[in-house]
Each structure stands twice: as C-alpha cells, then as structure tokens.
Symmetry: C2
Subunit: 300 residues, 2 copies
C-alpha cells in the first residue's frame, strides 16, 4: 500500500482511542497521510498517543487541532458527537472534509445536519465494522481495518468528491468500502452487532447478579467465554449506542424476545421435532452464511 505521494497532508483525529488511534497508525503505515494531529479532552491521553507515535501533533484546543486539516475524523463516543458538530461548525476550515466512525448513522447524520451548517455537505458519515473488546489508544494497531468492511452512508446533500476522498483513505487503511443508506445501516447493525452486545451484557448481568450466582462463573465453559467476550466492551460506548439507535435496537430486542419465547414453549412442551429443526437450521445458517473474513475479528 506504500504510495509515492500521500493522499492528504494533514488528518486530524478527534478522540484518540482504539478506532481513532488505529486509523492514524494504518494511514501513516500506508503512507496515505503525511501528518496526523490529535484532539482530546485529556492531555495525558494525547501525550500517550504522541509517545506511541500514533500522532505527530496534538492539542486540547479544538480550533488549533483542526487548523489546516484536509480531513477531520470524529472518533469520539457517539453520545459526544452532537456537541462535536456544534463546536466544529465554529472552528472548521472552509474546505475541511469531516467524517466519523460512529456505530449509529441515522441520529448522527441528523445531528450533523442540524449543527454543521454549510459544512454538512462536506460531512461523510462512516462506520468501520471492526473493533475489539479492548479500548484506548494503547490497544490501537494498524491492522485493525485490514479486510474489514467500512460502511459509508452519504445522503443527498453529501459532496461526491468528499465521499471519494474518504473512501480512498479507508481503502488505504485496508478496508473494503461499501455504501448503505443510514436507515439500512442502523437496521442491519442493530441485528448483527447491537443486539448481540445487549444479549451478552444481559447474560453476564444475570449470572453476576448475586454472590451465590457468581460462583457459577467458575464453571463457565468455552462456549460461555466466547459468547460473553463482547460484554467486556466499553460500557459508555454501548450506552450511547442504545440511545442513538433506540428505535431499531428496541425493535430487534422485541423480535428476539418473541423468538426466545417460542423456544421456551418448545422446551416446556418437550417439542423435540421443533427444537431439532430449529437447531439444525441455525447451525446450517451459521456454517454456510458467515463470511470467511470474520476470522480477522478477534485480533487479541
């Protein structure tokens, strides 16, 4: 991926954690950006990112951090993005392109539309389908996006050249870029990502709830370990996603609850034919439909 000329001179990352840090590392390693500047609320985090050479420059002053940036990536928690758009609108260069990495797109696009003003046309909503259950810049690594999908959800107003530039950056980071509407994105991610996280958190909470139940953890087998890995994810991130994707996630949880009630009835009736059919169908779906690249999913 080494390129003779970088795609852009300066990238500014707002929120230098697992995702923002990994994108900075990936683009620098690919030679796609000459200089990465970082912004965050916490000077210690920025110092750590500078020391790890994830960043070339950093500031807790937003205006200073975004000055001269051709592309600004918002990699803060989803719940902080509304405020980021409001603040950015006041300090952004007139030609800077903005993109984000939020796990929810509909509500983020709406917040951007309301707050960015004329800069909204230069906002390219994005979401990398990548991550680990770890968080923080110390967990970041350049290969996080290799062979993983990156979803862009541009809307009617979005500038086509801005979309093309953001796409080129993510491809340089190793991603396969695809486009969806914000609504399709939110419905699909509710089912395949947000729902499983909620289910895993709920299971661990159920078992961890009382002292007597906590000893059950010592009997947990491998299936439980795999099943609940995602319950080690950042609680704040998931709280934000529950709010930002409320409608689609609540729908998915209700559908799942209804499906679980059907299973419960089959168990209570010892309906062996129904159980055998369902388990066999699910096994077939999992074995045949999951993309092979999912093996890149747990790099730890």
């Amino acid at each position: 991926m080494k390129q003779a000329q970088p795609v852009i001179e300066q990238l500014t990352v707002l929120g230098v954690g697992l995702i923002g840090g990994s994108l900075a590392r990936a683009l620098k390693q690919a030679g796609a950006v000459r200089r990465v500047c970082g912004w965050g609320r916490n000077q210690a985090t920025l110092d750590q990112a500078l020391e790890l050479e994830v960043l070339d420059a950093a500031s807790i002053d937003l205006a200073e951090a975004v000055q001269g940036a051709e592309v600004v990536v918002i990699a803060t928690p989803v719940g902080a993005m509304g405020e980021m758009f409001t603040r950015l609108a006041k300090v952004l260069d007139a030609t800077s392109i903005i993109t984000d990495v939020g796990s929810v797109k509909g509500s983020v696009v709406e917040a951007a539309r309301q707050s960015l003003g004329p800069a909204f046309a230069r906002f390219v909503p994005g979401h990398p389908i990548a991550g680990t259950e770890k968080s923080g810049v110390e967990a970041s690594f350049a290969e996080l996006f290799q062979h993983r999908r990156l979803i862009l959800t541009p809307v009617e107003e979005t500038d086509a050249r801005a979309v093309a530039l953001v796409q080129r950056l993510w491809e340089a980071a190793g991603s396969e870029v695809i486009r969806l509407t914000p609504d399709d994105h939110d419905a699909i991610l509710a089912a395949t990502s947000h729902l499983p996280h909620v289910l895993a958190y709920a299971l661990v909470e159920l078992l961890g709830g009382t002292e007597e139940k906590r000893r059950m953890f010592s009997f947990a087998a491998g299936g439980f370990h795999d099943f609940t890995r995602i319950a080690s994810s950042d609680p704040l991130m998931w709280r934000d996603i529950c709010v930002a994707n409320q409608k689609e996630l609540a729908l998915a949880v209700r559908q799942y609850r209804d499906a679980l009630n059907e299973v419960l009835q089959a168990i209570e009736k010892s309906d062996t034919a129904w159980l055998m059919d369902m388990f066999a169908r699910a096994k077939l779906a999992r074995d045949t439909l999951l993309p092979a690249d999912a093996r890149f999913s747990s790099p730890e």
Copy 2:
C-alpha cells in the same frame, strides 16, 4: 503423566465421537489404559476410529464390546442413555464400573437407577466441561480435557471405590475433578452452558429466518462471530439436553427473558444511568470472575 502400570487393562467406550474419542486418546497417551474397545451403531464410524488408532478393538455387538471391560464409558447423546442403561443391564460383567459424559445429570441418574438394577451402585455419573462446536471422532484429540473441569455427581448408593477409580482416570486425562449433587450440576450448567447455547441458536435463527435477513450475515462483525460459534454445535445433542434438563433450562430461559425485558424498558426510556450501570457491572464481572483456564476452551 506416563505411568509404569496402566490404571486399568480395558476401557470400553459406547459412542465414539468427539468426547468418547478424545477420552480414549487421552488415556492411551497417558498410559492409563492398556486397551480401548469401542461400540457404536455404525460400523463405518468404528472402522474410522480403528484406523485413527483411537480404538484397539470395536464391535457393533454391545455384549461383545463390554466383555472384560473394567470401565464402560457411555458417550452417546443424552437422549440415547436411557436405552443404553436398559441394554447394558443385560450384558454387563458383574464387576464392570459404568460412567457417562452426559451434559445433564439428574435425569440420567434417574434413568440409570430405574434400569441398571444392582449395577446402579457401580454407576458413577460424570460430565467433562469440555468440548468444541465440532463433533465426530475425526474431531477428537487427546488434549481436550487438559486443565478442564470434570464434574462427578455420585449419589448415596454409589460405590466409593468406583468413584475413586473414575476420578483417577479423568485425572490421568488431564482433568480437574470436582463433585456436585446432580441437582446443583443441572442448575449451574443450565445457566452457564445450556442457556447460552439456546440464546445463540435463537439469534442465528432470527437472522437466518428470511432471505432479506440472510444478507445481514455478510455484515456480521467479530462479536457476532464469537457470540454465535456455539450455534454450530450438534443439533441432536442440544435437542436432547433441552429435554433432559427441561426444568432447570426453562427456569433459566424465563429468568433471562425477564432480565432482557428490563433492558428493553431501559432502552425504550433512554435510561442512560441504568444502562451505564448495568453494562459497567457486567463488564467488571466478566473481566474479573471468568477463570483464566477458559482460554483452553476453543482449541480449534
């Protein structure tokens, strides 16, 4: 683990699949048994096990297979164990010790009590907390039980020397042996293993249910991959477990459904404080309470 003298001369395994095959391999590798004989309904499976040197001898005739066995291990699906006890009672040597590897203990112990007659005192109920989502003798390997727990659930009538011998064999296979009552075993396994499997199957079924939903699989991220791995397990095994542990599993599913309804309410009300507390508590429980040996859980 190499021993100068084998613990027993002949072990007979009824049902030579992942668990039965792995136990045969482990005990032979440890030098704990001189000869392993296998029984199964299917001659081709037995031939495969002989070719893989998992077995030294095999027969589809139960009387022939168990003749001369100091220990007989029932490693058939749980649903077939009732019939196995009835058939065994007629052909078993007068001193053979019987054990099993079933994922449910209460109903298996009751079936043994009803069918084994005087041999019931020589039946040592067991359950190795080990496995992969694969099945069949071709997936078996000697290290499957290393550092994994093996639960024995002897009852009042169980002969203490029989328990001691079965424990010695599992320890030779690398397991850490502990004892529980059948009821405690079934409640704990319902929560930590049977419930997660049912939840994973239900999620895959929900997403795999319609053509339109099937395309969602192509967006599945790593969390989904880990979360649903156990839905690749043997459907027949899990159908049997749902029937054999009906009471405890139904209770666990109902408790989970109620917990999920609480989460749903919090999502619908955007109760950020409740969500943040629950996610943080669950993350802490998962990060601190899961035994480190769970890393041995997915050997594939």
